[in-house]
Amino acid sequence: MSVLVTGETRVVVQGITGHQGTVHTRQMQLFGTHVVAGVTPGKAGTSVEGVPVFDSVQEAVDASRANASCIFVPAPFARDALIESVDAGIRLAVIVTEHIPFHDMLVMYHYAREKGARIIGPNCPGIASPGKAKVGIIPNVVFQPGRVGVISRSGTLTYEIVNGIKEHGLGQSTCIGLGGDPVIGTSFVDALPYFEQDPETDAVVMVGEIGGTAEEDAAEFIAHHFTKPVVAYIAGRSAPPGKRMGHAGAIITRGKGTAETKVAALEAAGAKVARFPYEIPDLVAGVLPTEAGR
């Protein structure tokens, strides 16, 4: 099993000939991922790190049977790249690209949803299952195979925490970096059911941030539908309130969205909440079934 990616995952890299695309194609390969095709319009016939490049995702899929996409194309073209991958039949797209206008992402999200495709990101580190596959940019070095799932809204902080789990002698089943943009394809609530159903996951670490109500919603889900132990951390407990003009945003999340409401909701749902990142590994070790995941 594992979550969303498996040993059968075959990745097409959209924007493979750019700097990031090329660097991370190599890293994905080193992780053991089947990177089967790349796409850059006008570059068909070339290759990057031994991976053949095509003009379109459809041509790439036809030639390589790719079933997941990793999108590195610049923000102005990301919307088109995602629609192209969905139309080519890809049902898992990791969008690494940052600075995509949320109006574009609204279209991408709902389009993918109608077509039954899952987006991770944008502006995210992606997904990785040690020993199986990685789609995205999480550093290979932080992983070792194990039974702890990680779901995070952060980037580098995720690496730090995943690495902490490894250094504690534990390993990860699957780690998903959701991305921190206003509109993301996969939220905590979307991701948790996969971990619930994954027989290779014994516990989940959830790394949240202040703002929005994604953590409160996750707590609600955990309370009613999640049976595995959860360790959570909320970054920004002591952050100053953002400068925000207009008050419409606050109206939506009224009475939610602060570190306090998130921590309280998660604790009420039975999660162990770490106050600092370095407390996480001990808490995880404490909730794991005896000897599991080591």
Binding site: L106, A214, H247
Partner: protein, 377 residues
Amino acid sequence: MVKLAEWRGKELFRRYGVPVPQGQVARSPDEAEELVRTGAVPLPCVVKAQVLAGGRGKGGAVRFANTPAEARAAAEATLGLDFKGETVKEILLEEKLAIGHEYYVSLTLDRNLRVPILIASAQGGVEIETVDDKAIDRQPVHPFPGLAAYEKRRAAKLFGLSGPTARSLDLLLDSLWRAFNQEDADLIEINPLALVGDRLIALDAKVVIEDDAVFRHPEYAEIRDDRTPLEEIAREKDIAFVQLSGNIGVIANGAGLTMATLDVLKEFGGDPGVFLDLGGTDDPKKVTEAFLLMAQAKPKAVFLNIFGGVTRCDTVATGLVEAMRQVPAADRFPLVARIRGNNEKEGIEILRAAGITATPGLKESAQAVVAAAQGRA
């Protein structure tokens, strides 16, 4: 975020067919007096300071005038005023209208539902967060079909409107919806939306354009006007930089790690004030630039917290050492570096060789930098 001044918001409204009062912007008392004298702005009129902060009515930033001389006087009293930290450089002169009722309406993003949301209240003219939750109506609007007729009917019902006034609300909401999408807005807010006779008129305009969409709207690139000078320099160099009160500077990579660092510093009694997010860069030149920028903010101490995933710790260290060499003696600050991950050992070595304390422990380093800021190191 690109926050438009009221007058710019109203120009945008005019383009999209949202009714606004007759009015014009002025930048001097002469100009203000002239606008009224020539009839470009009818009398009596309102003189409104063009600042982004709310509460202008109570704060003396809105005045009234019945004659050109009064308009000049109001302009003189307002221009140059310091309003909640903003200096008034522009004023908007507008016809004064006989208001029947004041409503509230806005469009913004609901991040959770992942759709825009139409917020309406029959209690307008006051800050919306002071309005009781039950008096506020929220309707998600799916971007595909767009604003639906039934949603507009619900707003009209909430406002108690019917007939031609309901019809004009209809047109107004359609205009807002088009503007929200075509201008890539983050927020469009009308508060108050005034009933004047049987017409609806936007008395105020708050429009925020999404930063990430400015590439589609080059006209907005020049009017981001809520940054400090250092933040502006940082933006030009494409470095995420936020300046608040507090005396510890934090340089980290990634927003989450920056926030976690802040949490840890506060835990140990620190008072972090400047945040600089290197993002994914490990270009030594960029690291140097970032540090020189930090030096200008004159922190008491600086905490460098890097987890090298994609970023390489050694190149960050190289950039840092170069920066410390360039910082003028007067601007020097105590520095604590905590670097982990990719090429960690090489990075620590480079820093130690340059006389900079570097450890891999977050807790210990945080304690060290707090002590340094408090003059205890």
